[in-house]
C-alpha cells in the first residue's frame, strides 16, 4: 500500500482533476445565479401570465434552476457527464478530487475527502444555527411584551416558520454531517466513505438548499409554520414554493448521505471490526441514517405534491376541491415523527462515547443500547398520529397511537439506564464534554416526562397547540439532541481541528447555556400550563411575566452559544496543539495522527476488542493493533496502558 504521508505531497500533473480544477463555490454561485436568472426570464415571458399560478410557477422554475445551476457549477454532475462521454477518472483525478496539494482552497471545492466534507458540514451547521438563532432572538424580542409591534403578524409568522425549518435542517445534519463523515469512517478503520463523490454531493446539495429557504423572506414569507399544514400552506404565496424546493433538495442530500453511511459501515470496516465491536456511535449513525431513509422520502413526496397543488392547481390537500388537509398532516408526521429520532439517535450515540471515555468505563449494557436504539427507530415509525390526536381524524385510533407512543418510553428509558449505568462508579473525569453530558441527562429527563403527558389523549386535549408543546420539543431537541451533539463536538474538537478547545471560556459558555436554557423553557412550560397558545405574535397580558422571563433566558442562552462559538473559533485558530489522543480514549479515531492523514491510517488497523475495555484485564484494554506490529500489540497514541 502506498504510504499516505506521501499522498499529500504528491505532485499531480497540471491536468489532474480536469474540469474540477476550474470549479469551486464561486463557479457554483455563478452558474446557479446565471441559470436562475435565465429560468426566471423565460418563466416571466411564458407561465407568469397565468392568473392563478403565474408567480408560483415562476418562482418554482427560478428556484429549481438555481439548485441545478449551482450543482453544475460546483461539479456535482461532472462524473456523470464524464461517464456518459466514456472517460473514467484516473487515480490522479481521484487524488485531485480528494484535495491533494490544494491547501485551504479544497474547503471551497467539490472535495471527496470525508474529513474535508465533515469540516465543511461543521461550518455549515454553525452558519445555520446562527441564522436560526438570530430568528429566535427576533421571536423572543417580539414576545417580550404582550402587544408588541416590533414585527407585523406577517413577518412574525415568516420568522417563526423559517426559524423552525432552519433549526430542523441544522439538527438533522449536525451530527450526521460533521461527525458521521469525519469521525465515523476512522472509527471503523476505513480509508474513506464508500462513495466519496456522493459524499461531496450530499454536502453541496444541502448548501444549494439554503438560499431558497432564506429567499422566502423576500417573496412574502411562509405563513404556515415549519409544519406547513395544508390548506393554509397552499393558500400561502410563492414563499411556500421556495420552502418546498428547499425541502426537496435537502431530502436528496439526506438520502444520499444515509445510503453512503449505511454502505460504508456494511462494507468498509477494518479487519476484526465485527458488529459487536463497533462503537455505539457507529451504530447510532447507521440506525439514524437508516431511519432517515425511511422517513425523509415521505417529505420529498409531500412537498412535490404541495408544489403541484400550488403551481399547477391539483388538489391533493385542498378540501374544497376534493383533497384533504388530513392527508398532508398524515404524510408530514409519517416523516416528522421518525425524523425527530433521526435527529436524536446520532447525538445519543456520540454522548455514549463521551460518557464511556470520561467515566473511564465501558458503556453499560452495550447490546441493550443497540437494541433500544433499534427499538426506538422501529416504534417511531408507528407513532406519528400522536401529533394528530386533536385533529378529529380517526378518533378511534387515539387508543392505538397512545399505546405505541407510550411504548416508546421503554426503549428511551433504556438509553437512560445505559447513561447512568456508565456513570455509576466511574472515575468521572468532568471535562467540558462531560459538562454537556450531565446537562443532557437532566434536559432529556424533563423532555421525556413531559412527552408522556402529551401522549395521554385527555391531557393532550389541553396541551396541544400550546406553549407546553413548544417547551417539550425544545427540551428534547435543543436540550437533548443539540446538547448531546455539543458534547460530541467538544469531545472530537481536538481530532477535527488539531487544537485543544479553550476549556475555561468553554465552561463560561456552558453555564450561560445551561442556565439560560432552563429559564427560557421552564417559563414556557409555565405558559403552557396556564394556557398560552403557541405561534402567536401577540398574547394576553396575563402571560406577561413568564414571557419576559423566557425572553431574558433566551438572550442569556444565545449569549452562551456565542461565547461557545468564540471559544471554538479562537481555539481552532490558535489553541494549544492537540496530541493524537488527549482523552486516552480507545476507539480508532484517537489512534491515528492528528491532523488525520489522507486515507486515515499509516498502517492498517486490526481490531481485536470493542473500544470499551476501560478498567478491564490487560487483554481487553486494547481495541486494535496496527500494521506489521499487529502481533506485538503496539497501540500507538495510547498512554493509558
Amino acid at each position: 500500500m502506498m504510504s499516505t504521508a506521501l499522498l499529500e505531497d504528491t505532485v499531480l500533473s497540471p491536468t489532474a482533476g480536469r474540469l474540477y480544477r476550474r470549479q469551486n463555490a464561486l463557479t457554483g454561485l455563478l452558474f446557479g445565479v446565471g441559470l436562475a436568472v435565465l429560468g426566471w426570464f423565460i418563466a416571466l415571458n411564458t407561465v407568469q401570465s397565468n392568473e392563478n399560478f403565474g408567480s408560483d410557477m415562476t418562482v418554482a422554475v427560478t428556484m429549481t434552476c438555481w439548485v441545478i445551476g449551482f450543482n453544475i457549477g460546483i461539479g456535482t454532475f461532472n462524473a456523470v457527464f464524464a461517464w456518459v462521454l466514456g472517460h473514467d477518472q484516473s487515480r490522479e483525478d481521484e487524488l485531485y478530487g480528494a484535495g491533494v496539494s490544494q491547501g485551504r482552497s479544497r474547503y471551497f471545492k467539490y472535495c471527496t475527502d470525508h474529513k474535508v466534507v465533515g469540516t465543511q458540514y461543521l461550518i455549515l451547521v454553525f452558519v445555520l444555527f446562527f441564522v436560526g438563532g438570530t430568528l429566535a432572538m427576533m421571536i423572543r424580542t417580539q414576545l417580550l411584551t404582550p402587544n408588541s409591534s416590533f414585527l407585523s403578524p406577517q413577518t412574525y409568522n415568516a420568522v417563526v416558520s423559517i426559524h423552525g425549518m432552519c433549526m430542523i435542517i441544522a439538527t438533522i445534519i449536525m451530527v450526521s454531517g460533521p461527525f458521521a463523515n469525519f469521525i465515523m469512517p476512522i472509527m471503523i478503520g476505513a480509508k474513506d466513505m464508500a462513495f466519496p463523490r456522493l459524499n461531496a454531493m450530499s454536502f453541496w446539495v444541502v448548501v444549494s438548499a439554503v438560499p431558497p429557504l432564506l429567499a422566502t423572506f423576500f417573496v412574502g414569507g411562509v405563513n404556515a409554520g415549519w409544519t406547513t399544514y395544508a390548506p393554509l400552506s397552499v393558500q400561502d404565496g410563492p414563499a411556500m414554493i421556495c420552502f418546498a424546493i428547499t425541502i426537496i433538495t435537502f431530502v436528496v442530500s439526506v438520502t444520499v448521505a444515509g445510503i453512503n453511511t449505511l454502505i460504508t459501515v456494511l462494507t468498509m470496516r477494518a479487519k476484526g471490526m465485527t458488529f459487536s465491536r463497533m462503537p455505539i456511535f457507529v451504530w447510532a449513525s447507521v440506525i439514524g441514517g437508516g431511519l432517515g431513509l425511511y422517513a425523509m422520502p415521505a417529505f420529498l413526496l409531500a412537498m412535490t405534491l404541495m408544489v403541484a397543488d400550488k403551481a399547477t392547481g391539483t388538489s391533493f390537500f385542498v378540501a374544497d376541491q376534493g383533497g384533504s388537509g388530513w392527508l398532508w398532516e398524515n404524510v408530514f408526521w409519517i416523516m416528522g415523527h421518525p425524523e425527530v429520532y433521526v435527529i436524536l439517535i446520532p447525538p445519543v450515540g456520540a454522548l455514549m462515547e463521551v460518557l464511556s471515555t470520561f467515566s473511564r468505563k465501558p458503556v453499560f449494557a452495550y447490546k441493550m443500547i443497540i437494541g433500544a436504539m433499534t427499538g426506538v427507530a422501529g416504534l417511531s415509525i408507528m407513532v406519528w398520529a400522536h401529533h394528530m390526536f386533536t385533529t378529529g381524524w380517526a378518533p378511534d385510533l387515539a387508543g392505538p397511537f397512545m399505546l405505541t407512543t407510550e411504548l416508546i418510553s421503554i426503549p428511551t428509558g433504556i438509553i437512560f439506564l445505559a447513561a447512568i449505568g456508565t456513570l455509576w462508579r466511574g472515575s468521572n473525569w468532568v471535562r467540558l464534554p462531560m459538562y454537556f453530558g450531565f446537562l443532557f441527562i437532566w434536559n432529556f429527563i424533563v423532555g421525556g416526562v413531559t412527552g408522556i403527558y402529551l401522549s395521554d389523549v385527555p391531557a393532550d386535549n389541553y396541551f396541544h397547540g400550546n406553549m407546553f408543546v413548544t417547551a417539550h420539543f425544545h427540551y428534547t431537541l435543543l436540550g437533548g439532541a443539540m446538547i448531546a451533539a455539543t458534547a460530541g463536538l467538544c469531545y472530537w474538537f481536538p481530532k477535527v481541528t488539531g487544537r485543544m478547545l479553550d476549556e475555561r471560556v468553554g465552561r463560561w459558555a456552558f453555564w450561560l447555556i445551561a442556565i439560560g436554557f432552563q429559564v427560557t423553557y421552564m417559563a414556557q412550560f409555565y405558559e403552557g400550563f396556564k394556557g398560552m397558545p403557541r405561534r402567536v405574535a401577540n398574547y394576553d397580558p396575563v402571560f406577561r411575566p413568564e414571557n419576559l422571563v423566557s425572553s431574558i433566558g433566551a438572550y442569556v442562552l444565545m449569549a452562551g452559544w456565542v461565547v461557545l462559538l468564540y471559544a471554538l473559533v479562537s481555539s481552532w485558530r490558535n489553541g494549544a496543539i492537540a496530541p493524537a489522543n488527549p482523552w486516552s480514549a480507545k476507539s480508532l479515531e484517537w489512534h491515528t495522527e492528528t491532523p488525520v492523514p489522507l486515507e486515515n491510517f499509516l498502517q492498517d488497523p486490526l481490531v481485536i476488542n470493542d473500544p470499551y475495555g476501560y478498567g478491564g484485564v490487560a487483554s481487553e484494554q486494547i481495541h486494535a493493533v496496527f500494521g506489521a506490529h499487529a502481533h506485538h500489540g503496539a497501540n500507538n497514541g495510547d498512554h493509558t496502558s
Binding site: 402587544n147 406577517q154 413577518t155 423572506f217 471560556v505 397580558p541 461565547v563
Partner: protein, 251 residues
C-alpha cells in the same frame, strides 16, 4: 484577560449583527411606513347612548392599492396593482372612551362571501349601519346583468351577494374580550369588477356607523370578504399585512 476581552468582543459583535438584522426585519414588517390616522375629539355628545367625546374617522376601501384617492394621496404606498386596499392608512388611533363615528367609502366590487355570518352588522351602536349609494351599483344576487345594489338608510344585514368588503374588528388578546365589530360594506360598481375606480367619479357606497371605544388597548381589524387568491380566496392580499388588515389603537 485576553480571553475575557475576546469573548466579550464576540458577544458585542454578535449583538450588533443580530440587532441589525432585527432592525431590518422590523422595518420590512410594514412594506411602507404608513402614518397612523389619528382622530381627535370634535366635542361631546350622546350619539353613542351616553355622553362621550366624539371623534370621526374617514377611510376608503379601494380597488387599486397602487393608485391614488380623491385627494391625490397614495391608497397604499408601494401597493400592488392587482390588489385592493384600505386607505389612506390601515392603522387608526382614537382616545379611550370616545364615541367613534367611522365613514367608510367603498369603491370596490365583490363576489360571494364565504360565510353569511359576516353579512350581519355587529357591535355598532344600534347594531346598524347607514348606507348612501351613488352611481349604479350591481350585486351578484341575480343572473347577468345582476341586481341593483342601491341603499339609502339604515341596514342591519346584507346578503352575501351584496358585499364588497367587510370591516371586522376584535380586540388584541386581553383587551376587553367581549368586543366584536362587524360591518359589511356593500358592493360598488359591478360585481364582476367593471366600472370601479379609486375616486368619486366612479360608483361608490358611503357607509357610516358609530361605536364606543373601550378602555386603552389595541384592536385588530381585517376584511372578511374573500378578495385574495387561492384557498378560500384568502391568499395573496388577504395574507399580506396592511392591505386588508390593520389596527385600531385606543389611547
Amino acid at each position: 484577560m485576553r480571553r475575557l476581552v475576546g469573548a466579550g468582543g464576540a458577544l458585542l459583535l454578535a449583538t450588533v449583527v443580530i440587532a441589525a438584522i432585527g432592525v431590518g426585519f422590523s422595518a420590512q414588517s410594514y412594506s411602507a411606513p404608513i402614518p397612523v390616522l389619528k382622530a381627535t375629539p370634535v366635542g361631546t355628545d350622546g350619539t353613542c347612548g351616553k355622553q362621550a367625546p366624539r371623534v370621526h374617522l374617514a377611510i376608503g376601501a379601494y380597488p387599486d392599492s397602487s393608485g391614488v384617492d380623491d385627494q391625490g394621496n397614495a391608497v397604499h404606498p408601494g401597493g400592488n396593482p392587482d390588489w385592493p386596499a384600505f386607505g389612506p392608512s390601515n392603522e387608526y388611533s382614537v382616545p379611550a372612551g370616545s364615541c367613534v363615528t367611522m365613514t367608510v367609502t367603498q369603491y370596490d366590487s365583490g363576489e360571494l362571501l364565504n360565510n353569511a355570518y359576516f353579512g350581519k352588522v355587529a357591535g355598532t351602536i344600534g347594531n346598524k349601519i347607514h348606507i348612501e349609494s351613488s352611481g349604479t351599483n350591481v350585486s351578484h344576487c341575480a343572473e347577468e346583468p345582476g341586481a341593483p345594489a342601491t341603499f339609502a338608510g339604515d341596514v342591519t344585514e346584507l346578503q352575501p351577494c351584496e358585499i364588497g368588503h367587510t370591516f371586522t374588528m376584535r380586540p388584541l388578546p386581553g383587551v376587553s374580550p367581549g368586543f366584536f365589530l362587524n360591518v359589511p360594506l356593500p358592493v360598488a360598481g359591478n360585481y364582476s369588477g367593471e366600472n370601479v375606480g379609486n375616486t368619486k367619479d366612479f360608483p361608490h357606497q358611503t357607509v357610516t356607523f358609530s361605536f364606543l371605544a373601550g378602555p386603552k388597548g389595541s384592536y385588530s381589524w381585517n376584511c372578511e370578504f374573500p378578495c385574495g387568491h387561492g384557498v378560500a380566496s384568502f391568499g395573496a392580499v388577504m395574507g399580506a399585512y396592511g392591505y386588508m388588515s390593520g389596527y385600531l389603537h385606543v389611547i
